[in-house]
């Protein structure tokens, strides 16, 4: 090729680029086919896998919740449950097995029938290690939430029975989780190891296409057992950067988005084309103070057995093991200011370790006020009139329950400095952070929790129980052991009487408050933004995203 040809070619390409770039000024944005209602939702990341039993991340769950369904489901704006693929159920008197009557005439998206066999398949592949499909997943939530289920058996074509190893009052709410959504056995057989790329459920939307890191397209399931969804297509588009996501929403490239940056709330509210939806989130962000004692769960049963003694954690420190010091820390921190300035007002101040809308929330607990003088007095009473030094571990990542942990860490550092407690800030990568805090290597750490199933047990037992102080896998990273707390939390799981359960949880919260093992900081709100012509979206307390009722006017 001589220079001339190269020149012509480059100029030609250049022209194509330029013409193409500006052709948009003349041609209007492509409109969907007349009458087709399409909603493109801007997500902050891509799904990892599309198998409901085998995912833990919010992005995958978001897609799955519109493709799959479980035996029971949450009511539209609460964590109470209602029938879904099961029309009714009976709990045995001893509370150890539940019989479910299944809905007839429901079909999976691949055209096969939903029946007792598919229910048994969906459960058994997770708990039965010799099941032919067991090796295709990690089933992370099963071990964690459903290990009380011993087995699931078919009674007849439309009846199944779940057998529990022990009574578990949270089991019904857990059964509304994505983990136990029903998958098509025929589809699993067809795709084998790759079934996670070809989801087939019974839900309102059918899977169409997945272009990795770009988008996932779903279309309305016209054979849905309820009325068909109003949207013809639902597309989840990945836009990682929050400001780019908002710009795409402003230009109508997308019609809805998650995780808006709190600093842009004013701009969103001022824009009449956009609507900001906000609701309380099911989470808690806290500062955990290492009270100093854990146990080695040598038989890995998640329970402290009599032969597993209390041992000092690696980061045991005399002052923090003292209740008065921990109370002083609670008095020293101005939570209101942290919520207003660092959570940008998109959270409510927390006084208990679980969100206010949950069963058994104790509103009688009187929170520690911001009172540095009181903090100094308590420190003097505890024998530390000149304060002491310690280390605060700060999360390296933002989580829904903790925006901008480094700034929150610095704020806490300065509040504590004001009462003569000098803390150094320590940061390490997220995986190691979790590993080491669960092993008790931190004197104080920032952490939190987002609820899974809407049951108080999923906060209280996971985060504050004595059994959760196992060194290496602790959920109770304050390593606070109190046998009475453990007693009431266990009792609350044994009874199906909600009033009785509520009383138990209230007592536990009062005890935790008095012993000040944590500084509960905030419950973050959940926020989504839509174009103002998008109607019908309801924020669910679990933050799960259901697009079935959504319509565009």
């Amino acid at each position: 090729m001589n220079n001339k040809k190269v020149g012509i070619l480059t100029i030609g390409l250049c022209l194509v680029l330029i013409v193409a770039s500006f052709s948009g000024c003349v041609t209007e944005e492509e409109e969907p086919e007349p009458g087709e209602m399409v909603l493109i939702f801007g997500s902050s990341g891509d799904a990892k896998r599309l198998d409901p039993g085998d995912v833990t991340d919010g992005e995958s769950i978001q897609r799955m919740d519109n493709i799959f369904e479980s035996l029971v489901e949450y009511k539209p704006s609460s964590t109470e449950i209602q029938p879904c693929l099961a029309t009714s159920w009976d709990m045995s008197e001893d509370g150890l097995n539940i019989t479910f009557n299944l809905r007839h005439d429901v079909k999976f998206h691949d055209g096969t029938d939903f029946n007792a066999d598919s229910v048994v398949f969906s459960f058994a592949r997770q708990y039965n290690s010799s099941h032919p499909y067991h090796d295709y997943g990690e089933w992370a939530y099963w071990g964690y939430m459903f290990s009380d289920i011993d087995r699931v058996e078919k009674i007849d074509n439309y009846t199944i029975k779940i057998f529990l190893e022990r009574t578990n009052a949270a089991i019904m709410t857990s059964l509304a989780m994505f983990t136990v959504c029903m998958v098509s056995p025929a589809n699993a057989e067809q795709w084998g190891e790759d079934a996670f790329k070809h989801p087939s459920g019974t839900g309102p939307f059918k899977f169409v296409e997945w272009i990795k890191d770009d988008h996932i397209t779903l279309e309305a399931n016209d054979d849905y057992w309820r009325e068909s969804p109003k949207l013809d297509k639902l597309i989840f588009r990945v836009i990682e950067d929050p400001s780019a996501r908002l710009m795409a929403l402003q230009t109508n490239e997308i019609q809805g988005m998650e995780y808006p940056d709190p600093t842009s709330f004013d701009a969103i509210e001022a824009d009449s084309d956009l609507q900001l939806l906000t609701a309380p989130g099911m989470n808690v962000g806290y500062l955990a103070i290492n009270c100093g004692y854990g146990y080695n769960d040598s038989n890995e049963n998640g329970v402290r057995d009599p032969d597993e003694p209390w041992v000092k954690t690696l980061a045991y420190s005399e002052p923090l093991a003292n209740k008065k010091v921990r109370q002083a820390i609670n008095y020293a921190i101005d939570k209101n200011s942290i919520v207003d300035n660092l959570y940008k007002g998109t959270a409510v101040v927390a006084k208990n370790g679980m969100p206010p809308f949950m069963l058994g929330y104790n509103d009688d607990v009187e929170d520690y006020s911001y009172d540095p003088d009181m903090a100094r007095t308590l420190l003097t009473e505890a024998g530390y009139p000149n304060g002491f030094t310690s280390t605060l571990w700060v999360m390296p990542v933002s989580r829904p329950y903790m925006f901008d942990p480094p700034k929150i860490g610095e704020a806490i550092q300065s509040y504590l400095a004001a009462v003569n407690i000098t803390v150094d800030i320590y940061q390490i990568d997220w995986a190691t952070y979790l590993e080491k805090t669960e092993a008790g290597e931190h004197p104080m750490c920032l952490l939190g929790w987002t609820g899974d199933n809407g049951d108080p047990d999923n906060f209280m037992n996971v985060l504050y129980a004595e059994n959760a102080c196992s060194i290496g896998t602790a959920g109770n990273v304050a390593f606070y052991n109190n046998s009475r707390v453990q007693e009431v939390l266990s009792a609350a799981l044994q009874t199906y009487d909600t009033t009785e359960r509520a009383n138990y949880y209230e007592e536990a919260q009062m005890l935790l408050h008095e012993n000040a093992s944590h500084v509960y900081l905030a419950h973050s709100n959940q926020n989504v933004v839509f174009r103002s012509n998008v109607k019908g979206y309801v924020l669910h307390p679990t933050s799960r995203k259901f697009f079935y009722p959504v319509t565009i006017e």
Partner: protein, 324 residues
């Protein structure tokens, strides 16, 4: 060259990512990990084996054409990369076309009109371009051309409402062979801003190198001879001087492909571009060892190939250069 470089890179990549703190099993299960599950996952992916054994198993797979499966997505690493590589290549080519056309012309004009207003303007822009963070530039371009002027889309590869048939994964190519004009226009419109954002730094570098190389050539005797012969100034510059000035420029262009891959990570994030850059960043965050090493391996191969092409181009530009 390819074999030792790739082998070396794979050993370094493998060791570094495994030595970095953080455990993939833990990253995968997050706050909800139980000891039993952690052990199960470590065993399943061979993470409990010594490092050299893990490397041996991996290398054996690679020699059989199998890069393993991603820990987080369970997808074959080869497929994960193949799905995204065409996107990164299209972006890099777009950026390179932008950088070369603008950079070379700006460099030539600056050199021929040394110390003029044009020269200062071009070099001022080049300096500005070279010091611009890609991330910020991307957001600015989006705000100006996407939101305020409404000329170009904010991100993504194509308007999702346009029907599109994937054949090779190269979307420009696919839309041409399927004769899908609306798709071609949409793909090019989506490519424009990311290509400019990614191409700005190479553009600036190319402009500066072209200028200095041209200045040097223009001072040489043969140019004076040609002028004396009565050749038109245009012929002197574009036929004789430019070709002689191109050797260092081609070197810079070749080296810039490496920078493009690095810059692509940021550009792809800002413009939600489904490319390999984003893939590797997420894989590093998640300690997805097989995926990280697979991506680095592919980057290394691309880099070696591009350098090879650069070397071959030298012989075309300067016939005095021969390779035995």
């Amino acid at each position: 060259m390819l074999v030792p470089v790739v082998l070396g890179v794979s050993i370094i990549a493998f060791s570094l990512i495994h030595l970095a703190p953080g455990d993939p099993a833990r990253t995968m299960l997050g706050e909800r990990a139980t000891q039993e599950q952690l052990n199960e996952i470590r065993e399943k992916y061979g993470l409990d084996e010594p490092l050299y054994v893990q490397y041996g198993i991996w290398l054996n797979g690679v020699l059989h054409g199998d890069l393993g499966r991603s820990i987080t997505s369970h997808e074959e690493v080869g497929k994960e990369i193949a799905d995204r590589l065409p996107n990164t290549i299209e972006l890099a080519i777009g950026a390179m076309i932008f950088a070369i056309i603008i950079g070379v012309f700006a460099g030539i004009i600056s050199a021929t009109k040394q110390y003029s207003i044009t020269d200062y303007t071009c070099m001022g822009i080049a300096l500005f371009g070279i010091s611009m963070p890609v991330f910020w530039l991307g957001i600015m371009l989006m705000m100006i051309f996407g939101v305020f002027l409404g000329w170009l889309p904010i991100g993504g590869r194509i308007d999702l409402l346009i029907p599109f048939q994937r054949v090779t994964g190269f979307m420009i190519f696919d839309s041409i062979i399927t004769g899908n004009l609306p798709a071609l226009i949409s793909v090019l419109r989506h490519l424009t801003l990311p290509a400019i954002a990614l191409g700005t730094i190479p553009m600036a570098m190319i402009a500066r190198v072209t200028r200095s190389s041209m200045l040097e050539v223009l001072r040489q005797d043969f140019i004076r001879t040609e002028r004396a012969k009565g050749l038109s100034e245009r012929m002197v510059i574009y036929k004789h001087a430019v070709r002689n000035a191109m050797v260092p420029v081609v070197t810079v262009i070749g080296l810039n492909v490496g920078l493009l891959l690095a810059g692509a990570i940021l550009t792809e994030t800002v413009f939600s571009w489904p490319g390999v850059g984003r893939l590797v960043v997420n894989a590093v965050y998640e300690r997805d060892y097989p995926l990280v090493v697979g991506c680095i391996l592919v980057f290394a191969i691309i880099f070696v190939i591009v350098n090879l092409i650069t070397d071959i181009l030298y012989t075309y530009i300067d016939p005095r250069i021969h390779y035995e």
